[in-house]
Amino acid sequence: MGLSAEPLQPSERKILSVGELTRRIKKSIEETIRSVWVAGEISNFRPASSGHLYFTLKDEESQVPCVMWKGVSSRLRFRPEDGMEVIAYGKVDVYLPYGKYQLIVEEMEPRGVGALQLRFEQLKEKLQQEGLFDAARKRPLPFLPRKIALVTSPTGAAVQDMLRTLRTRCPAVHVVVYPVRVQGEGSAQEIAAAIGHLNLALPDLDVLIVGRGGGSIEDLWAFNEEVVARAIHASRIPVISAVGHETDTTIADFVADVRALTPTDAAVKAVPMLDDLLLALEDQGTKLKRALRTRADLARSGLDALARGHALGRIAELPMQFTQRLDELQERLAVGVGQASVYLRERLDLLASSLYGDLPRAPEAARQRVEHLTDLLRSHTRRAAETATARLREAAGMLEALSPVAILARGYSITRLESTNEILKTARQAKAGDRLVSRLGDGEVRSRVE
């Protein structure tokens, strides 16, 4: 265990040049380390105008200079920044002229749970600045779409939820499913291509629903890819995004014209309730008919007023000329009411028949409603005519009570001389042997004076 060290003989000394030493180190490093994954924090980040990136990876203990060539850096899916924790993959390279080593980084990704979040935030910021999320470019959905496409997986709960909801709410819509993979490598490209393809192949589509059911952030990732965002942005057909659960927000949600919280919610947003729609139509139909009926009533009451003012008033004033007046009035009124009611009735019949012609397709309830209203409307017209006639009859009855004919009906009679047709007003006018004609309420009696 002597502490003495024998000095080496000069002949035994192995003397290396600096270059040789560095080459040996280079060789040794390259043989033992080759490619490695290294975790560290980025510092001294210096992007060069050439496109190469220079930076240092460091931790509490040490640091290593790094370079990323242009070809690699252009494929990076995030922007490196000082202070960012990353995992880098690359080869250790010794740079002979300076005797320094560095890491040639071939792949790099943000480290830890925040990695995807970071990519998300960075893409969101970029697209936002480009104006892809602008509220001004968001299009309203059609009130009642006729044709909807679902860009989603043809299997699984999401497509079933959507189809069931669409069917329940509004069966009167044509739905097509464009099957795509919604997770895994290449799914984003598939979704984007589907959106583009539908715009070209089916321009009559009213709405696209793009989405999938719930899953992990990785499962939903396709909807955070730029290619999907660009496809949604370029779509001429309005797009509803429907990804995952309420709590999931994707880039697709920001670009879409309408964001739905879930696939089911997308279906709710896409179509109105058919039942509500039918009720609204029925309601409008009812209002339409009620309004016309009110208008027609108004016209009829005008007619009645005419009848009262011009006819009955004067009848009371001119009792002497009753028969003729009555005849005249009756004729005039009959013509008046008759024309108006016949005219209205014709129009209504026409409407009714044209209604019946096309309405059978409408739901039975609505059709019955229309029939009922039409009947009602018709009976109103008829009733108005009947009322006018009845009123006339009543007035006529009053007048008749004052007429001689009516007096005769109460038991009186009028007697004339048959020879002269003179009315017998005194007994003296009649001589024995004269033939008389007596007029009674319902006929004549002939007799001879004795």
């Binding site: 044709k147 044509h174 739905v175 393809h197």
Partner: protein, 90 residues
């Protein structure tokens, strides 16, 4: 967004016409003849609404990409689509 979308008869446009007809009829300022014309216009629009609902294709289809890039459609039953996948593991 640049080219004009295919012009389609819109349900909401017809519905609006019905509502307008109701409104002007209820306003009570029209003559009898005008009222009847309005009424008929309203009924026509109403029938259009029903016709649109009636004419809608009530289909669910799965699109299939053809080799030439066009899309073919076949009837789609999502429940049936799922069955083979579910049965396999059994």
């Amino acid at each position: 967004m640049t080219d004009k979308p295919v012009k389609k008869e819109k349900f909401e446009d017809h519905l609006k016409q019905v509502e307008e007809a109701v409104k002007s009829l209820e306003g009570g300022k029209l003559g009898l003849e005008e009222s009847i014309e309005k009424y008929e216009a309203g009924i026509r629009a109403l029938r259009q609404c029903y016709a649109i609902l009636e004419q809608a294709e009530k289909k669910i289809q799965l699109l299939v990409k053809e080799k030439d890039g066009t899309l073919a459609a076949r009837d789609f039953d999502p429940a049936a689509e799922d069955k083979p996948a579910r049965k396999k593991p059994e």
